[in-house]
Amino acid sequence: MHGLGLAMVNEIISDIKEKNAYPIASLIKKSKVTSKYIEEEIIKQNKYVLVSKNVVNVK
């Protein structure tokens, strides 16, 4: 079994190499593509949350 997502990453890396630049994978959930195959190259990881709270009917 093979992944089109990973194939796309190949082209993205190629473009960014041409620019001599740093890649940022922005606002992802835990992703097999970006974390499993390129994890060793991560130099920083920012975290973001959505939060929630049930509303309480205080009588």
């Binding site: 079994m1 093979h2 089109l4 990973l6 796309m8 993205i12 001599n20 890649p23 992802i28 939060v51």
Partner: protein, 309 residues
């Protein structure tokens, strides 16, 4: 000591709402688009038709100390808080959410989720770490103490997201797995187009819209908007992209995947654009960093079986 004011379209309150961000953040940090925010607060934004927005300021001794909006959707049992900014004052935040709690109950909603800035498409999420560098383009950005304040008033994590920063790939760097996948998919008949291959950008917007709606509809807090509104909302964004870096993948003439990669403009596009014009043009040509901002693959094409031998 604390007072809550709900407002409609009065200029005084709209200006106080907008100005609170300018008080809390430096020119380099501020990610607020004042023009877009004013349109939303005045109910003049093209996306306003999709939600009901209630707008609030919290005063402490007659000074604005916090602000927030509540967004409501028909048929959605959740209410959303957004454009939330505050000084570091736990009592003010408690006071705010006690009042919002009552309003949410009156609407018949069960839960508050946030931060969501009115709608999925405008922005959502709270940053929780690494505040020692400037925000990148489109990054949700806020004061470092916000997550603690929300936890103190009873909020818990609903979803978590990451942004990964990578080393600069050397010219001879090849990810062999990715490279092999690309060759295999090409052999299978998948074709790659960039924005430069299209005569008409309207076609591109339409293709990307169709795929985003299909692929992102399961995302938490996703809300549908029409193709016309999507194009009007995003078309200016395409002007600041390098066309060759935007890819759409086709199989048997059907678009099946896309990726959008943006130069990192930091906050140059959200205010003082005239002043920043030269730097924007420079980064459009070449930026130190590129954001892999959107990627999607239609489920049927995510994985294929390729026979060997």
């Amino acid at each position: 000591m604390y007072k809550i004011v709900e407002f409609n379209d009065q200029d005084k309150y709209i200006n106080e709402f907008i100005n609170l961000s300018h008080k809390l953040y430096s020119e380099d940090e501020i990610m607020q688009n004042d023009i877009e925010l004013k349109q939303l607060l005045k109910n003049e934004h093209i996306l306003c038709k999709y939600f009901t927005l209630r707008k609030f300021l919290i005063y402490k001794d007659n000074n604005v100390i916090s602000r927030v909006v509540l967004t409501f959707y028909e048929g959605d049992k959740n209410a959303y808080f957004g454009f939330w900014e505050t000084e570091n004052d736990t009592e003010a935040v408690e006071f705010m959410f006690e009042n919002l709690n009552k309003i949410v109950i009156d609407y018949g909603k069960e839960r508050i989720i946030g931060p969501v800035n009115a709608i999925f498409w405008i922005g959502y999420r709270l940053k929780v770490n690494n505040f020692n560098s400037l925000p990148y383009m489109g990054e949700p950005y806020n004061k470092e103490y916000y997550y603690d304040l929300l936890k103190k008033v009873g909020f818990t994590e609903y979803e978590m997201y990451y942004t990964n920063f990578y080393n600069k790939p050397e010219m001879n760097y090849i990810n062999s797995k990715a490279n092999n996948r690309y060759k295999l998919f090409t052999l299978k008949g998948y074709k790659l187009k960039t924005l430069n291959d299209f005569e008409n950008l309207e076609t591109v917007y339409s293709v990307i819209y169709d795929m985003i709606i299909e692929l992102y509809k399961e995302f938490p807090i996703f809300k549908w908007i029409s193709k016309e509104d999507f194009i009007n909302f995003y078309k200016n964004s395409f002007k600041i992209l390098d066309s060759r870096m935007q890819k759409i993948y086709y199989y048997n003439n059907e678009p099946v995947a896309f990726s959008l990669v943006f130069p990192n403009y930091n906050n140059l596009l959200v205010h003082n654009m005239e002043k920043n014009k030269l730097e924007i043009l420079k980064r459009k040509k070449r930026s130190e960093e590129y954001l892999i901002a959107y990627m999607g693959v239609k489920r049927k094409h995510a994985r294929i079986r390729v026979s060997h031998g």
